[in-house]
Assembly symmetry: C2
Homo-oligomer: 385 residues x 2
Amino acid sequence: MKITRIVDTVVPIRSEIRNAYISFSEMTASAVAVHTDAKCDGKPLVGYGFNSNGRYSQSGILRDRMIPRLMAADDVSLCDEAGMLDPSRCWRVMMSNEKPGGHGERSVAVGVLDMAIWDAVAKAEGKPLYRLLADRYNEGRYQEEVYVYAAGGYYYPGKEIEGLLEEMRRYLDLGYSTVKIKIGGAPLHEDQRRIEAVLRILGPGQDLAVDANGRFDHATALEYAEALNDYSLKWYEEPCEPLDYEIHADVAQASRNPIATGENIFSVPDALNLIRYARLVPERDFLQFDPALSYGVVEYLRILEMLRAHGWSPRRCIPHGGHQMALHVASGLGLHGNESYPGVFQPFGGFADGMPVHNSRVRLPDAPGIGIEQKQNLYEVFREL
Amino acid sequence: MKITRIVDTVVPIRSEIRNAYISFSEMTASAVAVHTDAKCDGKPLVGYGFNSNGRYSQSGILRDRMIPRLMAADDVSLCDEAGMLDPSRCWRVMMSNEKPGGHGERSVAVGVLDMAIWDAVAKAEGKPLYRLLADRYNEGRYQEEVYVYAAGGYYYPGKEIEGLLEEMRRYLDLGYSTVKIKIGGAPLHEDQRRIEAVLRILGPGQDLAVDANGRFDHATALEYAEALNDYSLKWYEEPCEPLDYEIHADVAQASRNPIATGENIFSVPDALNLIRYARLVPERDFLQFDPALSYGVVEYLRILEMLRAHGWSPRRCIPHGGHQMALHVASGLGLHGNESYPGVFQPFGGFADGMPVHNSRVRLPDAPGIGIEQKQNLYEVFREL
């Protein structure tokens, strides 16, 4: 199996939403197609990949650093003994001549290509990616349905509570039992009113998570932690600067609710520092590293290995991003679940068409690969590549 | 003063060298020109910036994220009360809608533009940048000459010691009294032979630093620290993975030589973690954050403030990169000195033409701005922008 051509393009993922930190109105995503000389159902086998939301415009790094290295490498460097593309070897080729440290945007460029390579390998083996991951790394065990939660809960200037509850009811009607709302975009007492309003419409077995998007300083992060102790929440997410482990440690101690963080941590060394210094609680807290932003599945496997060595189960992981790739990882590697942004970040957000959410759980398609072809609006992007 | 146009280009900085970690043969740099409506000596005032070596191909991030934000911003957002471009405000505009965490490549894109903005402001005030920085942030104090050391000391397969000594003698003849060589590209006993050979040709007042480029694992970093204790070195640089603070802490304790690190740390939050967890010694060790790779001078000023709050003097800083920008920062903000790569990473490496090194110290030109116009081969790159 040889890579014959790699094509990339940039696609808008405009969304009119904003969180406590940023607006998403200018955002794009890179989409790549890795063409191979293999066949699948008589047609040329092509692997597809894209990046998750949050970081974008990696085209320079893709075109001048990562793609040329893959195209210049020989088969022995990219393939296993059986001649099949080997994602770990491809990863090593992409990262050759890269300096250590500074994990942010490069991790996204590698993640996009890593996704396309896994898609190609799973197609070549005729398996959906979650089966491939389960067979290779999880003794064949996978989750037929994956827990997903609905992330949203934006601010609605002028019709604050009413707009929020309308959005929450939409998610509950879609079949989600966990919903997540933003906090930190208003003073604490207003956020408390919003939280209490949502809690009142939740029934048994339904729960609420809150997300500060890394906005709070030390004192505010603690003030919120204590105020949130009045409620029983699914989690309190990104209370502070994602790299400030001292604040995390204080918040983790002050909070009776689980802490969730990790969407802005993009590598094994950074994840290791979070585990070493932030004093998160392995029996209680959640880790949200997003494989598509963090050097792909090859690095995610290393993160899981590092976590196990520090007493953390894969069951504590719920990736950020709300995309199909992380859903496969969650199913095949035994994670707790996956994020979902119903209806936004299109066409990249969301899962395969015709896969409804029941009791906050969603099934994966049986088609080989990631199933990008099973999501019509997403496949439109790739069809021309 | 208004920004009227920003032009960027990509220029090779090919170099046939390699260190223990990477080869530099494919590397490029971005160069930007920030055009303004102001005049300087009757000609339009243009600020120039470029990135330091190590990370490259930021064109996507520059063109799709940073430059459009600067061009879309109004005067109030970019200028101070006197109507002069304000680097801090420009920085805030560039970083609007950026998520926290993940400091790696974005920090380089911002650094390139930050450099051009400082160049424009210094030209508008008719001062060399080091004077502007000294006047604004250092009570007018600056260093007329800045300590620089010669970084190199590569491996010469086939003529190992002979090639190395030839290179070292060239640096000493150029006027450097501190020279730095690579280690970790050969077994310890060979590196010891190389170190001892260089030490033998050094006279009184001359010294040697060694650089492992982040290559060693925990055990090897410690093994080298102990072996290097047999010599009196200027420093032992980047012993290990730049984000692994536990290894740093052990090495810092085992070493009698100063430790130097920081070239792969690109932001205040990462620098703060290094200071909090790596147990470096403020009276002994050196910090090598490179402003051109790390969100520019605006962020570097914040790093110095954070260092002061933790008991570190600016005198412990010697930026990585060997470029003119860091030389101005070293002079105007009272740093220990600056790196220099004699003859490599051209045209971006090195200082103004006709500024010889005496006793490992170099002067800065009096021309307004950074002095890119005072370095002929570098100005060739910018003349057309």
